[in-house]
């Protein structure tokens, strides 16, 4: 036990999230998993394969087919444009292509979640921290609201991967200092030390709110 404590003190200079398994964990938390789509795809293949097993098994023991004889089905596919209305064929093809496109895009697209990593300051040794963009937005909105001296309903913050947009609707007759709001939001962002670093923008609308 004592040796592990010493090890911990020795490597306290390096951040914990630098270790390879931590990088894998944070990757998994910031990218959406394809588990649900994978299960759907597996069930689709499973059902088709089950039908294939049934027909080929029935055929192998010389019994009459359940729905269609495999050889008759293959012959129909070979003759294809004939024997079916072109509209129906095109619709079936479009549906199949659509399904294929959904699976393909799920397999290829990066699938980033609306989350940021928190890097942590120099002095403090943070474990791996993943924050939903919604939490960042509400924290920034609170700070912007205090800097602009408006009610919570007058501030709207949109956080995306590389951009933070702060919309402020001033109270009618009370001007809002755009630079002060931007400085406050930037200060809060600097303290958070997000990864990737978003760029903050403040947008003060021209029309004010009455009676707020």
């Amino acid at each position: 036990m004592s040796s592990s404590v010493e090890n911990r003190e020795m490597d306290s200079g390096t951040r914990r999230s630098d270790r390879p398994d931590m990088r894998r964990i944070t990757y998994r938390e910031t990218h959406s998993s394809r588990a649900a789509v994978s299960v759907a795809a597996a069930i689709l293949v499973l059902v088709l394969a089950a039908y294939g097993v049934l027909e080929s098994g029935v055929h192998a023991v010389g019994q009459p087919a359940w729905l269609i004889e495999p050889q008759v089905a293959a012959q129909r596919i070979v003759d294809l444009p004939a024997g079916i209305s072109p509209l129906l064929l095109a619709v079936i093809g479009a549906v199949l292509a659509m399904l294929g496109l959904i699976f393909l895009l799920n397999g290829v697209l990066p699938g980033k979640r609306a989350r940021h990593l928190l890097a942590g300051g120099r002095g403090e040794r943070l474990p791996a921290v993943v924050v939903d963009d919604e939490v960042i937005a509400s924290s920034l909105a609170r700070r912007a609201r205090l800097a602009a001296n408006v009610t919570p309903e007058q501030v709207m913050v949109v956080v995306s991967q590389r951009q933070v947009l702060v919309n402020v609707r001033p109270t009618s007759g009370v001007p809002v200092d755009q630079d002060a709001v931007l400085a406050a939001v930037q200060d809060e962002l600097d303290r958070m030390m997000l990864e990737p670093v978003p760029v903050a923008r403040v947008n003060v609308t021209a029309s004010g709110v009455i009676g707020a």
């Binding site: 931590m22 070979v78 294929g100 939490v135 509400s138």
Partner: protein
Amino acid sequence: MNSTPALLNRILLTVLGLFLLAAGILLVLLATLPPAASWWHAWAAGAWGGVNQLFDSTRFPGRPESWLWIVVALALLALMGLMVAWIAQQGKGRANLLAAEYDPGGTPGDVRIGGGVAEQALRQALEGRPDLAGATVTTYDVKGSPALKVRLLPRQGVAPHLLAAEVSGLLDALESVVGKEIPVLIHIGAGARTRFGRAERVR
């Protein structure tokens, strides 16, 4: 952070997607373009002829059926088994033990610390904080070694970096109690409870 096979999922989905996409585009082309139909006839008839010949040459002696059908059925059964295995891989990875090590002290035997220790201790420590609407702690098994996932649901307007620093202090205390460094992931999230709950006004 569970052990869902992320890369395998993507590869299999891509292969299946390409296959379905190709089949769908072929059907649409057959329905709309006459030249595609004539090409398909020439190619498919040749391929089907070859397959037919294969079936004819593999008949049971004295019977009209080919034993190739049994092979096809077995292959499809194997495919079904693989699909069931693929589904079973999704979302695994919860663990029960936080530490399990040989104790070199005077008493013979191992020391095992259950994941419930960390879960209950942290939940107790986080309970009653006014800035949290909820917190859950779970133990996962990441490539054979235990890891903790702390999911925090702060109320609206809570600064995430301050919350993370405070919880990190709790985790350091836990590590010194357990006597072992545990990889920890803190997830600060938002849910229905934080969205519709009251905002935190005073800290």
